[in-house]
Symmetry: C2
Subunit: 436 residues, 2 copies
């Protein structure tokens, strides 16, 4: 059994520490994650992820893995340090130099803390290559930390200097093959955002300094967003910038948004200069057509909170809430405490533990009301209160739901009623695991 | 279903690339991981982990998490970059400076790519503190990458410049409390190494520049090891350096070994200067007594291969083999191929897939002998060959086992016989998951 009293969660109600000035708090995900003890800044743009945030991130990482592996991607891990010379070869060292954190080793060799790995992957494919056309398409992905020396890091995890990314790279023999993989990865992204029940718009985008021929941004509407998209209220088509919907001609609405993903067909922008070739069925080796796919995982976590929470209470996509349920036991000294102690709490825990990732709030010295308030603020999708009604025969439990966009009244149900309420979720969970 | 033909595994038989000179290959784990296409150097002391190595590392990371969480540790993630000023405060910047990779950001602030996080954790505990004595003991752990600018990186993953570590940190009110946690973590380590079926010796060690009062190293005997321990052939007691066994007085044997873990009670070495205090039941705040626990995870992976493999064939602890079983189908054009095609292969896969993490070697253009040789070299714990005997009624399968230290003859069994053979392992697996 797991207990709230044992979780390291240094709650603060007013940011009082010198490192966190009130003026640094610029959006609600940042404020809630800090005040509820999930995240702690260690330095400008750098954050310690504390146990509850780490649990949510674990779930999100697993979900991302499941979705991209279903599209055929294979996990690899490249070093965070990329030789600067590779970026010199592709010309990006000069282009984005000021945003790079660089390292010189004891032999004066230059490395950069990679913000992305196109060069490193192309170099790997060149090193093991040339691949045969029979080995293509090939999609390799990573989940690890990336670095960007933001001039002014802000909004907490939304714009950090060290952040967790999914980055996937496709290697293809031609543009047609690349487009097929691009569609498969688009499906993987769509499935991920559906699982998160998050409104994410896919908008055509310029290819910018990544190079390449085709690109989309994946944007979540949120007032704290530093981007903006034009959404058609009629057909939900979205674009980066247009007053008229390209699909149905209606007038669009402009909303702030957070970029949580990006997809590109890169062509030979990196494979060319780095000599990442493949051998076609006939003729000499040719440069690979490459594609790449990014999702800012820590940013997506914060963007989910930004999109779903109120100013006062966190709301999570159910799939990534740190715990899916909390069980609040009676207050010490109450009548129900005197009769049952923690017996009812343990009974509930045992019955729901298989389907729910539950935790017991064992801080019995606090009133139920106080713990309920804290549980609502943390946004456990399900809160089960073992209060006065556990004295009834059969005992009944108060169930509160903290789900995005829902404002259900609490229900008073028997244990069997509770199991029924949660059963659909349990089944849903099993089905999802099987699908994976 | 998963197929060997789809795995990105760039096999090389003779290192031919400029980046990998023959003389750089100094031990068998390095040679086997490179030649079998699991790992690829990207630069001196930096490695790309390719899909099979990444799978093994995933399993090892999960096992490590399970063991330390059973001891009550909670996962956090701190930035890889630690402010240099923290290391200046504890005096370690000068002590180990030449092994540190450092970074200066655009505002000229100095960071180091942390080889370990005592300072960062003490600073975090100071920042959220002072903790109450009621919150103690507290154990936080991380699994992430660490950095050390080795003068001469060698032996592949055994001495890399970027490597994956478990690092756990205990915070305690007094030495007694620290010793209790130290024992719990010692149990976690012991359980981990038992699960890996790896001979690991725990030897008392000097505390060195970590500071502190109590320390043990965890050493795996292996000829490529850069350390050495004295092991008593009679009672298995081990020490760093002594010709006579401290426990039974017998003469010891000197063997090379690889350090895979380290445990320390640090006292107030870091909490003192960084002001990480707690509030005792009465009186003013006191510095926390700290402990720390490290396991080199990528090193442990390589050390396992070093200890268990032959020069020619990898042998894995069963728990971390990239796949636990491979099924080799008939050669194209053979009589069994003409009769059954891949039917028998799929039948076997479906029956064992629930308990075994299986993959199908679908390279039907290669002979069974050739694929069997490659499977043996890769060290799949179980190899099931669908050869000539699948034509019998009932069909029979040749089962080869690649387990450390075992040289079983291949067995010819029916499908039911195969299920029986593997059943114990399946059960073992389920039990382990339940324990976790």
């Amino acid at each position: 059994m797991r207990y709230v009293s044992q979780i390291f969660q240094p709650v603060i109600t007013i940011p009082k520490n010198a490192k966190v000035k009130n003026t640094d708090i610029t959006c609600k995900s940042q404020k809630l994650l800090l005040e509820c003890g999930l995240v702690r800044p260690t330095s400008s743009g750098f954050f310690a992820l504390l146990p509850l945030a780490r649990r949510a991130l674990d779930k999100l990482e697993t979900l991302v893995k499941t979705c991209v592996e279903a599209a055929g991607a294979q996990r690899v891990t490249l070093p965070a340090l990329t030789a600067a010379q590779l970026w010199e070869t592709t010309g990006r060292l000069a282009d984005v130099g000021s945003e790079l954190l660089t390292v010189e080793d004891r032999h004066k060799k230059e490395y950069l803390l990679a913000p992305t790995h196109e060069e490193a992957i192309a170099d790997l494919l060149a090193d093991v290559g040339p691949l045969s056309y029979k080995q293509l398409p090939l999609v390799l992905y990573q989940i690890n930390n990336k670095y960007r020396d933001e001039h002014r890091p802000k909004h907490g995890l939304l714009r950090a200097r060290e952040f967790t990314m999914l980055d996937a790279y496709g290697a293809h023999r031609d543009t047609g093959c690349a487009e097929t993989v691009y569609e498969d990865m688009t499906t993987a992204y769509t499935r991920l955002f559906e699982r998160l029940q998050l409104p994410v718009y896919r908008v055509p985008a310029p290819t910018g300094d990544m190079g390449g021929t085709l690109s989309h941004e994946w944007q979540v509407p949120a007032s704290a967003g530093e981007d903006a998209i034009s959404v058609c209220p009629s057909c939900s088509h979205a674009a980066l910038d247009s007053t008229e919907c390209a699909r149905c001609g209606k007038e669009t609405e402009r909303v702030n948004s957070i970029e949580v993903g990006h997809t590109f067909i890169l062509g030979t922008r990196y494979s060319g200069p780095l000599k990442a070739n493949y051998i076609p069925p006939s003729g000499p080796p040719q440069p690979l057509i490459m594609s790449c796919y990014g999702i800012g995982i820590t940013r997506l976590l914060a963007a989910s909170l930004e999109a779903l929470s109120s100013e006062k209470s966190m709301r999570w996509p159910r799939a990534i809430a740190p715990y899916s349920a909390v069980i609040i036991g009676p207050k010490e000294g109450s009548k129900e405490w005197q009769h049952h102690g923690e017996d009812r709490v343990h009974e509930v825990y045992k019955r729901i533990a298989q389907a729910q990732d539950a935790v017991i709030d064992d801080r019995h010295q606090l009133t139920i009301g106080k713990r309920l308030m804290m549980a609502d603020r943390l946004g456990y999708p399900t809160i089960v209160v073992c209060g006065r009604a556990v004295l009834e025969i059969p005992p009944r439990y108060e169930v509160h739901r903290c789900l995005p966009g829902s404002s259900q009244e609490p229900a008073l149900v028997t244990l069997e009623g509770l199991i029924d309420m949660l059963e659909g979720e349990g089944r849903e969970k099993v089905l999802e695991v099987n699908k994976a």
